[in-house]
Subunit: 210 residues, 2 copies
Amino acid sequence: MSPSQLRLYLVTDRGLSLGRDLLWVVREAVAGGVTIVQLREKDAGTRDFVALGRHLVEELRPLGVPLIINDRVDVALAVGADGVHIGQSDMPYADARRLLGPDKIIGLSVETMDEVKEANSLDVDYIAMSPVYSTATKTDTAPPFGLEGLREAAALTRHPSVAIGGMNRQTVAGAMACGIDGVAVVSAICSAPDPRAASSDLLTDVLRFF
Amino acid sequence: MSPSQLRLYLVTDRGLSLGRDLLWVVREAVAGGVTIVQLREKDAGTRDFVALGRHLVEELRPLGVPLIINDRVDVALAVGADGVHIGQSDMPYADARRLLGPDKIIGLSVETMDEVKEANSLDVDYIAMSPVYSTATKTDTAPPFGLEGLREAAALTRHPSVAIGGMNRQTVAGAMACGIDGVAVVSAICSAPDPRAASSDLLTDVLRFF
């Protein structure tokens, strides 16, 4: 994938969407400039996950915005998504690659410098350094990278990279200055009063670095 | 699949295994005569699920006991399991079949007479009527079939079938008399003081009908 597709990466979160329809939130975010979307559904049944993924593929494909499925390789295959995002406790990379084939996007979360190094031995398409800062969105995360760690990780990795965890208008510039390709955002878009305007503002902040 | 493989169907449940190693429980159950095993892991991360599935494939394949994965087509594909078991809120049958190919086993839970009928239009390999009785194992189930409903369902289906929900030494004979091919068991084996002896006893009860 091109690193330019990683500029503003939306990770969905139904619980943080203030009761609004997830499809609407995604649609608005994409209209505002989100360059890639990850569908993350930790509690949905597989049938609902597949139905939602299928809707999103239909909406996003004509717009050229890749749809990435969190964790579930089966859902990605069923709906013909562009790839999966896996964490360190999800399917091992080698299995995911074997099932998805060489052309699908596989992103990997890395939580420590050792995992950044280890990812260099894999042909993942991008890595997500997680978290930059502690957040209320995910409470099971590793100690945060902070900007110093993020800078070190960005220098160490051979992959395109995004940063996630506490990314918002106050923090995006600091993270981008560390040499990453984009930022991944959950609540700063999903919980924004106006997800389209929020996306547009965040994208502007990111694109200043290119 | 041959209906004879469905005689005594173990569905794993880590929480009901009294803190004992799940691999040990399965090994004992198979030694006692279980004819098919479904690995059900509702809370495990995908990485752990895959690792456990891989262990079980290695153990069960040489014994000729099929391993079925609950819900997760990706896990089944990754570990080379014999098939999947899907419920009405899991991946739609058509998607699962497309991903798994024609040779893998796909079993389907049916909770109403309408679902039994609908399953007749699918080429599933077996159906599981669920539940026969209310149980503490699963609390999100439909109203129970009861023996009268089970008899009706068994007469209606064109597929091999098992019954699940409240199956134990007191209830197996009544269920088998309804014309099903076998019984599926969770706590009567997973929570038994001696899973091997419990399996052996249950199999004896079932085989009286053949």
